[in-house]
């Protein structure tokens, strides 16, 4: 048994043993779980991919004369203005009113972070305290008082794989799905995935300090659509999408290499987010969880051609099979392709490991762990009462 304090003391002294979630599998294979529990202090996990539920809170500073902004555009991309006078929330999937999905919220976030000037246009209602009705200025990341990345749902614990049994090509958030089971697209980094390495949420919760977008970030708690009740295998790893995280961090100290605006063909705009989460090896149970390998992590293949919330499946496959380049469906070999980057995830896990080893990054014990009992509900299907008996005026 180790404590957060003991591990942080070792980090301070430069004695902490830190390995990535890939490396810990090799150690477990060679020396067993007991050795992992005894030798390893921290395991770094990571993921990098499009995460639509992302965005940034901005404070522009007050204009002279002042304006209470009620409509806001950044490079023609609308931002939410239903906040105080010069506060806004720019969502990653917001679409440019002039360029369509070729440019959107995700791109504005990347451009801001890259130091590019952004055109801010805003309209407001004239009031006694806010006389101005319109502004059009250039802003930069430096000119903002705050730019706080706050992503309501990131780092999915596993994710369904996608295929297409129809006769036409589908363009989805899982990329292109070729007709007649032409390919299987998968997301998540498998054995590197943060929540897969802590399947029962024993170390991740409010306050957990993480790598976010190349800088420091924190876990705020469960993300939207957090679904701990997903079916799980004997090793407790969910068999499809399950837990999620809400994350935040100061955009000003991030790096544009790890936050990338993306346009997914015939689907929309998103933001590719790089996330790294350290997991302290507090005991043997955690040592076993972090040693989980691709071949023991299963996901479910869903048929995206069926336009229903509950889609038919083509069974389960593990990540070793998915990463091999093809899986078997109905006796045929079907090519696979990822839609999240393992290359970048490996890079992030290695960077976080390096930060901890050099004594630059300490672990934070969460104040409150992720809930394990919430249920995922669909939208109520009940008809609107006012429409039921014809229009009532």
């Amino acid at each position: 048994m180790k404590t957060y304090e003991e591990i942080n003391e070792k980090i301070k002294q430069g004695k902490a043993v830190v390995v990535t979630a890939d490396e810990v599998c090799e150690l477990a294979e060679a020396e067993g779980i007991k050795a992992v529990a005894e030798k390893v202090d921290v395991v770094t996990t990571a993921t990098f991919g499009p995460m639509c539920s992302s965005g940034v809170f901005l404070n522009f500073g007050h204009a002279d004369p002042p304006i209470k902004m009620s409509k806001i555009w950044l490079n023609n991309v609308p931002a939410y203005a239903g906040l105080a006078a010069v506060d806004a929330y720019l969502g990653a999937t917001a679409v440019s009113e002039t360029e369509g999905i070729q440019y959107g919220g995700g791109h504005v976030i990347e451009d801001l972070l890259s130091g590019k000037p952004i055109r801010l246009e805003a309209e407001g209602c004239k009031t006694d305290c806010y006389p101005a009705e319109r502004v059009s200025v250039q802003i930069t990341l430096d000119s903002l008082n705050q730019a706080i990345l706050l992503n309501p749902r990131n780092a999915y614990q596993n994710y369904a794989a996608a295929t297409n049994s129809s006769s036409r090509t589908l363009h989805t958030y899982m990329g292109t799905l070729l007709p007649r089971l032409g390919n299987v697209a998968y997301s998540t980094s498998g054995q590197l995935n943060p929540l897969i390495n802590d399947p029962e949420y024993r170390t991740i919760g409010l306050g957990t300090k993480i790598f976010l977008g190349g800088g420091i970030g924190y876990v705020l708690g469960e993300g939207t659509q957090h679904n701990p009740n997903q079916l799980r295998a004997a090793n407790k790893v969910p068999l499809s999408g399950a837990g999620t995280l809400m994350l935040m961090g100061d955009l000003k100290q991030m790096n544009p290499r790890y936050l990338r605006g993306a346009t997914i063909k015939k689907y929309g705009v998103s933001l590719m987010v790089g996330i790294g989460i350290p997991i302290p090896v507090l005991d043997e149970g955690i040592a076993e969880s972090v040693s989980v390998r691709d071949k023991d992590i299963y996901t479910t293949i869903y048929d995206y051609s069926v336009e229903k919330l509950s889609r038919p499946t083509y069974g389960r496959v593990n990540y070793q099979e998915l990463k091999s380049g093809s899986v078997q469906i109905n006796g045929n070999q079907v090519p696979t392709n990822p839609v999240s980057s393992l290359f970048m995830a490996k890079e992030i896990a290695a960077i976080l490991k390096d930060w901890i080893r050099r004594g630059e990054f300490f672990l934070v014990e969460p104040i409150c762990l992720l809930p394990r009992d919430t249920r995922l509900k669909p939208l109520p299907q009940k008809e609107d009462e006012s429409k039921k008996d014809g229009l009532k005026l």
Binding site: F48, G49, P50, G175, T176, L177, L178, N183, A185, R260, A262, T263, I264, K265, S270, M272, K323, G325, P335, N337, P338, V339, S340, S341, L342, F343, M344, K346
Partner: protein, 137 residues
């Protein structure tokens, strides 16, 4: 003399799009011609992606013939460019690359682009979420 295969991109000036050059490649230079892709619109610049198979001398003579007519001949895949610094190797392009010119290196998990296998179908260009594959044509 050995039979060889070469893939080339022909660019036709607007006044030559109705020319019968391909016929002469087959008839006069004894080349096996396989059209991989073509964009021919009357009175506009046209482009054909060709696979030529035949004796190396005949291919050279055939290419000289095309050039003498004012048709530009370039080796394939010189017009397409993957910006490796900006590519994050997400893998979305793999789904549409039927030639497997784009592939994932299983050691580094980096996307690699093999120009020799590319037939310039350009499907990857619109699928790439970061727009890091560009065609200069």
């Amino acid at each position: 003399m050995n039979t060889v295969t070469r893939r080339v991109v022909l660019t036709f000036p607007a006044n030559l799009v109705e020319d019968t050059a391909i016929y002469h490649l087959i008839k006069d230079y004894d080349l096996v011609v396989n059209i991989l892709r073509a964009k021919i619109i009357p009175k506009e610049i046209g482009r054909i992606v060709l696979e030529l198979r035949g004796k190396i001398d005949n291919i050279k003579k055939g290419v000289s013939y095309l050039e003498s007519k004012g048709i530009e001949v370039k080796p394939l895949a010189q017009d397409i460019y993957l910006n490796e610094d900006k590519c994050v190797s997400c893998g979305m392009c793999l789904a549409v690359c039927h030639q497997k010119a784009l592939s994932l290196n299983k050691n580094t998990w980096k996307i690699e682009f093999n120009r020799d296998d590319c037939i310039l179908c350009e499907q990857c260009v619109s699928v790439c979420p970061l727009k890091v594959i560009q065609v200069t044509f």
